[in-house]
């Protein structure tokens, strides 16, 4: 029976969009996977030498010391991105399959998750390097097995606490607090947790503890799952009461407001689109990586500052704008048969992007603390975003055609179909053209002329709005049937 279920799984995998939506997509998907695997392997292999030779610390002890943060990071990452194993279970419920088999299968399936496999690519090379460098094999093995157990513990813990936002935020909050304490030398939690991880290496008997914990967690998840294997319990989609949002004040903006009001509701009421807000916030701080020393001077170059400037204010532009009109994919036929003028519709989306960019720029004013030239880069980036990139994301949107499942929060990055040759081409002017413009400008008179060149291009773009919108409008019209068809296929 288990074998049959595995066959099902294999088919669903083989027939997923990654393998059926064209060669280019598959290649990108494969490259993405290889990239991650490569990075993890390199990290596992290289970190020993970096820690040992460059930083002069004892690698295993160092890794153990910070493992508490690693472990918490897995929990947090999984909470956001790992899918719950409930999908496709409904169809199995009434078939003559033992309930236990179904639950074991659903839980066992999660072992193959990316979050587990990727860890193997770190821990295996790391352990091998340890043994090669004279660490006793049996002790490394013991430590390694403990780590495996802990990785899987986080796997099942994640299933147990799924959709318990309160638990999750409490844990995450405590963790951030500890990290802050540690940073300011108030209280160092790793002094207490480091030895715990060390003990797995020191005495194999302790390795039993994580394994017993894993067993316990698996049992709890199992009973938790089994008890809730009813359509109105664990398999039910939670329905929330509708929230009231007062947006009447927007009406003064005329017909554009009709769509803006809808988009605000869209963003606030769907998991997938809500993520764009969080990611925009993350983008806001992305610049810190460039403007401070944390990158080790790697990006200490004005051309890269423009790059960062584009990102700081462009979070919403890239995460929301990129997927216009896919956000409306679920009801695109409605939009196409109502008396909607494309221009108004596009203008509404563009306004959303513009307003969000402006707000981000205001929020980013803390960059002034790092110097005026830093904020100048942010400001220049924002002007370019509004004047040029705002159009470009709408243009690429016409080609993306990935239907978006609004209710699913998973996979906010890497919607597989989002990769295609045309959109990649359109990414170039979004990021690299401003860098080139800056470079050319700076040749003529240094940093400020460079910024001016980029900003001026943005302003020019802004005044060409009508012309560009004509173009985008025609494009959306010619793509209409293809878009409708693409949205129908996958929703």
């Amino acid at each position: 029976m288990f074998l049959r279920l595995l066959q099902l799984q294999w088919k669903s995998y083989r027939r997923s969009a990654a393998f059926t939506s064209g060669v280019i997509t598959s290649v990108f998907y494969l490259f993405g996977m290889l990239y991650f695997i490569g990075m993890f392997t390199l990290l596992g292999y290289g970190s020993f030498y970096v820690l040992d030779e460059e930083m002069g610390v004892e690698p295993l002890r160092f890794v153990n010391q910070y493992m508490i943060y690693g472990t918490s990071f897995w929990v947090v990452g999984r909470y956001f991105f790992q899918k719950m194993p409930v999908i496709n279970i409904q169809a199995l419920l009434t078939l003559p399959i033992k309930e236990n088999t179904i639950v074991h299968y659903a839980l066992g399936r999660t072992i193959l998750s990316f979050f587990n496999i990727s860890n193997a690519f770190f821990f295996i090379p790391f352990s091998v390097v340890l043994v090669n460098n004279g660490y006793p094999f049996s002790q490394v093995l013991s430590w390694h097995l403990a780590m495996v157990a802990i990785v899987f513990c986080t796997n099942y813990l994640n299933i147990l606490i799924n959709d318990r936002n309160d638990v999750f935020y409490a844990v995450a909050g405590v963790l951030v607090l500890f990290a802050v304490f540690q940073h300011y030398d108030i209280f160092d939690i790793t002094a207490y947790t480091g030895p715990v991880f060390d003990s797995f290496y020191n005495d194999p008997i302790y390795t039993l503890i994580p394994w017993l914990m894993l067993l316990f967690l698996y049992r709890s998840t199992f009973t938790h799952f089994k008890r809730r294997m009813y359509l109105d319990a664990g398999l039910q989609v939670v329905k929330k009461d509708a929230q009231q949002i007062q947006l009447g004040w927007l009406n003064r903006f005329g017909r554009t407001a009709i769509f803006v009001k809808n988009d605000i509701k869209l963003i606030l009421r769907n998991k997938r689109s809500k993520m764009t807000l969080w990611i925009s916030l993350m983008f806001l701080f992305y610049g810190l990586l460039f403007f401070t020393d944390s990158s080790g001077g790697l990006y200490d170059n004005p051309v890269w500052k423009i790059f960062a400037g584009i990102f700081v204010s462009g979070g919403f532009l890239f995460t929301f704008g990129q997927y216009v009109p896919s956000w409306d994919s679920a009801y695109y036929p409605l939009m196409m048969s109502q008396n909607i003028v494309y221009r108004e519709y596009l203008n509404a989306k563009w306004s959303m992007i513009t307003i969000a960019t402006a707000v981000s720029t205001l929020l980013a004013s803390f960059y002034m603390l790092l110097g005026w030239d830093v904020y100048a880069a942010v400001l220049t980036g924002a002007i370019y975003n509004i004047g040029i990139n705002g159009y470009l994301v709408l243009l690429s949107g016409a080609y993306i055609k990935t239907p978006i499942d609004l209710t699913s929060a998973k996979k906010p990055f890497g919607d597989k179909q989002a990769f295609n040759a045309k959109t990649l081409l359109l990414t170039l002017p979004k990021l690299f053209l401003p860098m080139v413009l800056y470079f050319v400008g700076s040749l003529f008179g240094g940093e400020w002329i460079g910024y001016m060149t980029v900003a001026f291009t943005g302003i020019l773009g802004y005044f060409l709005k009508n012309k560009v919108f004509d173009l985008i409008e025609t494009l959306y019209k010619t793509e209409k049937y293809k878009t409708l068809k693409a949205y129908k296929q996958n929703t």
Binding site: K239, D241, A242, R255, I258, K261, N262, K265, L266, R269, N270, A330, Y331, Y332, P333, L334, M336, S337, Q338, N339, I340, V341, L406, T407, Y481, L484, K485, Y487, K488, T491
Partner: protein, 231 residues
């Protein structure tokens, strides 16, 4: 109102729709019946310019639907749940459609009050998003939304499917009432020949993409359709 000329739709070698000529005059209540895959939804999608015809034209009020968008101002349609916006409450959805059709909130409220019976107290003020409503209730929302702004052409695909018996009867009454208005042209498709014969003045049977029967409804029509489908 609607004129179809030499309309064909092909996917590769298979012709899914082929209608040499058809006129639907203003004010008519027109029913379309046929088995699965006969081409009903294809025809409706072509009328709404949601798919591109391989050949031929559809005109609504002398406007070719594939070249102009003027027909959209007086046409309303509900084909399936892709005409609903799941994350809105029914009220918000009605107001949204109202805004698009330039009907004020007050007028929408007034119109909705008239459908209180039809809604059976399951739609309004329930603090529920459309995506959380049952299929039947979603259909009620979609159908009533097409009435907003009194469009001259209504296109409803399978309006009776998924509805409970009471609502089916109410919808029949509703459509019959609407059909009396000589300004409103109504197109309905259905699998239920009884419903169609009760509501429509004219019934066309689609089979494998072709109109094989085109009847004015009389007392004998139901029998005729029954014998046609009992093959």
């Amino acid at each position: 109102m609607i004129r179809i000329e030499q309309l064909t739709k092909r996917y590769g070698d298979t012709t899914v729709l082929n209608i040499p000529e058809m006129d639907i005059p203003k004010g008519q209540v027109f029913g379309l019946v046929g088995n699965n895959g006969a081409g009903k939804t294809t025809l409706f999608s072509l009328l709404l310019d949601l798919i591109q015809a391989t050949d031929g034209t559809v005109t609504i009020d002398q406007v070719d639907v594939s070249t102009s968008e003027d027909w959209k101002t007086n046409t309303a349609a509900f084909l399936d749940d892709s005409f609903l916006i799941g994350y809105l409450t029914p009220e918000e959805y009605f107001y949204f459609i109202g805004e698009l059709r330039q009907v004020s909130k007050e007028e929408v409220d007034e119109l909705l009050a008239g459908y209180a019976d039809f809604f059976n107290d399951e739609i309004l003020n329930k603090k529920k998003y459309i995506r959380d409503l049952s299929k039947g209730n979603q259909k009620k929302v979609g159908v009533v939304a097409t009435f907003i702004g009194a469009p001259e052409l209504l296109i409803l695909d399978e309006p009776f499917a998924n509805l409970d018996p009471t609502t089916q009867i109410r919808l029949k009454e509703l459509l019959t009432e609407k059909g009396k208005d000589t300004n409103t042209t109504i197109l309905i498709s259905s699998h239920d020949i009884q419903h169609v014969t009760e509501v429509c003045e004219r019934i066309a049977v689609l089979e494998k993409g072709e109109i094989v029967k085109d009847l004015q409804t009389t007392t004998k029509t139901l029998k005729e359709l029954e014998s046609f489908f009992t093959k």
